[in-house]
């Protein structure tokens, strides 16, 4: 969701031109940053922190407390106070076989999205280095256009492309000899429908990856590639032993971000299935939504959402470590 993450491209060792200044000279430069004491920065931060605490911090706490309560329609309308039920919601959720199949489906779906996005993104970024300028420009325009497309519009368009009766895809496939696809319903089965949704997610996610990786690729020193080639490395060898290690920080960052975004996929499934995803299409996000707003069990919905967040914590930790390593340098 943020091009901001591209603010910190690969940390490539800069060419040493001047010797580093003696540490003594550095001290006063750092001290210059603090003439105003601590009151000023906190005052500047206050409005931002206030908003974040109110609309993000408080709900986050509420999410936790909610998942330990009994909270349904009566509590929502205020007819009954919410009472604590301990781990009951979690016991219910974790004891439900459907929950586990949803977890498995979400993991397979997100993993597929991430792998395809990263591989396609890397291949296109490498391709962009080898094509002529005008081809590069054409691809860039298309990428930025698909990146800027509202997700809802993209989902609607894909629904139309894959329409059973009048969709262009079925019509094109039917032109192949021996293939009869007119009337084929891509959403009749969960796996096939989710594959289409995966394609939609990958289509929308690839541009960000390509553009970030392209920026990173321009920082790979030509001399290093040259040297590797002189040492007898083939194209794959150069990629594997020179390009990849240099791009590693960016790749880690992009992969972790993709995992977080792809586990959070919601509107694509929701809209594609007309607001009521069938059991075979449920991912953790839609499942939590269903439990809360369809079954009206807000507590169990929260428990599922909380479990999703916990599932992602490990990935977030990797991302944060990477960001701090490459981002917070100055």
């Amino acid at each position: 969701m943020s091009a901001a993450d591209t603010t910190t491209p690969a940390k490539v060792p800069p060419a040493r031109q001047a010797p580093p200044p003696p540490p003594a000279a550095k001290e006063p430069a750092r001290a210059k940053r603090t003439p105003g004491g601590t009151a000023v920065p906190w005052a500047l931060l206050a409005p931002c922190l206030l908003v974040l605490v109110l609309v993000l911090g408080y709900p986050l706490v509420r999410l936790v407390t909610l998942s330990f309560q009994k909270f349904g329609q009566p509590q929502l309308w205020g007819f009954q106070p919410a009472e604590s039920v301990g781990f009951d919601n979690f016991a219910n959720v974790l004891g439900d076989g459907e929950f586990w199949s949803v977890v498995l489906r979400t993991i397979v779906f997100a993993a597929g999205c991430v792998v395809f996005t990263m591989v396609a993104g890397m291949l296109i970024a490498l391709l962009l280095q080898r094509v002529s300028g005008w081809v590069k420009m054409l691809i860039n325009i298309v990428l930025v256009a698909s990146w800027g497309m509202p997700i809802i519009v993209a989902t609607t368009v894909f629904k139309w492309l894959f329409d059973a009766d009048y969709g262009i895809l079925n019509a094109l496939l039917s032109k192949l000899p021996g293939v009869e696809m007119i009337g084929h319903n891509w959403f009749a089965s969960g796996p096939e429908g989710l594959a289409v949704i995966m394609l939609l997610v990958v289509w929308g996610a690839v541009p960000f990856v390509v553009i970030t990786l392209s920026a990173g690729l321009t920082q790979v020193p030509k001399e290093l590639e040259e040297a590797a080639r002189l040492d007898g490395a083939g194209a794959w060898g150069v990629f594997r032993h020179v390009t990849l290690p240099i791009l590693k920080p960016i790749i880690v960052m992009l992969t972790t971000l993709s995992v977080i975004w792809d586990v959070g996929v919601f509107p694509q499934v929701f809209v594609m299935r007309g607001g009521h995803p069938e059991a075979e299409f449920q991912l953790l996000t839609t499942y939590s939504y269903d439990k809360a707003f369809v079954v009206n069990d807000y507590a169990q919905g929260s428990a599922i959402a909380l479990l999703t967040v916990v599932l992602l914590l490990g990935v977030v930790a990797v991302y944060m470590r990477q960001m701090l390593k490459i981002g917070e340098v100055e």
Partner: protein
């Protein structure tokens, strides 16, 4: 580019020809990527402008069959279009104005001051970006319900700020860091106050970055769907939710729906195309400086 340098040491006669041939191969592959990635956008436009009866042809022509605006007028007829668009505009603009003002102050704090807790704030702002918004929908819904902000545009604005702010702070921080501190110091030596130095020196230099970030934030707010769906009732829906009106129990009117999609997407995509370059320029400038 790299293939040129790879063979630069070898001067056989066959090399340039082979290089040219491989360039043609790469270009063909590139065009394939171009066509595949661009097809959904093309098909949206193609369907939007073709006569509605051609849209429901089981054997559709890949190329435009005629140019008509009837799908657009049908799309405008199906349900009120300007109401939702107006609401989306109000919400997105409010988010941008508040987000930039609040975000710029915070970005200044973490980029121009060293203070105890700075690192914690930075980590916090980064971490907040990582909370999946979908997981927060239930408590946010309950919170706005309690505050009496359910089905109000203000509630939506406040909610959007939570995902616009962290990103804004982080991006603006990147732009501010690239403005040499010495410029401010020089202004202050010449008698400006700290605020004066900011207004006269930093702000003008920050303006392009601020514009780019604003447009980006605007697009994010404009494109949001889930919260708009959950927090607003039918009669107060925003533009993205409006698009669902084409599917009724009688089926989906695809040609007008593609016209509706075109109306929603084209201005946004053009904005995005304009800003993306500017953002990239700002970003690469930062990269060179290291």
């Amino acid at each position: 580019m790299s293939s040129v340098s790879s063979t630069s040491g070898v001067s056989t006669l066959a090399a340039p020809a082979r290089r040219r041939r491989s360039k043609i191969g790469w270009n063909l592959l590139g065009l394939l990527v171009f066509v595949t990635a661009g097809f959904p956008v093309y098909w949206m436009l193609n369907t939007a402008f073709k006569p509605a009866k051609d849209a429901i042809d089981p054997d559709p022509s890949l190329f435009p069959t005629g140019l008509t605006l009837s799908n657009f007028s049908r799309a405008l007829d199906i349900s009120d279009f300007w109401g939702p668009v107006g609401r989306s505009l109000v919400v997105s603009l409010a988010v941008v104005v508040v987000g930039m003002a609040v975000g710029m102050l915070a970005a200044l704090a973490i980029s121009r001051f060293a203070f105890r807790g700075r690192k914690v704030v930075i980590v916090g702002i980064l971490a907040v970006q990582m909370v999946p918004l979908v997981a927060m929908i239930i408590p946010v819904f309950l919170l706005l319900n309690d505050l009496g902000q359910y089905d109000r545009l203000t509630g939506l604005v406040i909610t959007y700020l939570t995902f616009i702010l962290p990103f804004t702070v982080w991006t603006l921080r990147g732009f501010i860091v690239n403005i040499p501190k010495e410029l401010e110091e020089a202004a202050m030596v010449d008698g400006c106050s700290r605020t004066g130095a900011f207004v006269r020196v930093v702000f003008p230099l920050l303006a392009p970055g601020l514009v780019a970030t604003s447009v980006y934030a605007f697009i994010q707010a404009w494109n949001e769907y889930l919260y708009a769906l959950m927090l607003m009732s039918q009669q107060n829906q925003t533009a993205t939710v409006w698009l669902a009106n084409f599917t009724t129990k009688h089926g989906t009117e695809y040609a007008p729906m593609m016209a509706g999609s075109t109306m929603l997407a084209v201005p946004i995509v053009i904005l995005f195309l304009l800003v993306q370059r500017k953002m990239a320029a700002g970003l690469t400038a930062g990269a060179v400086k290291g």
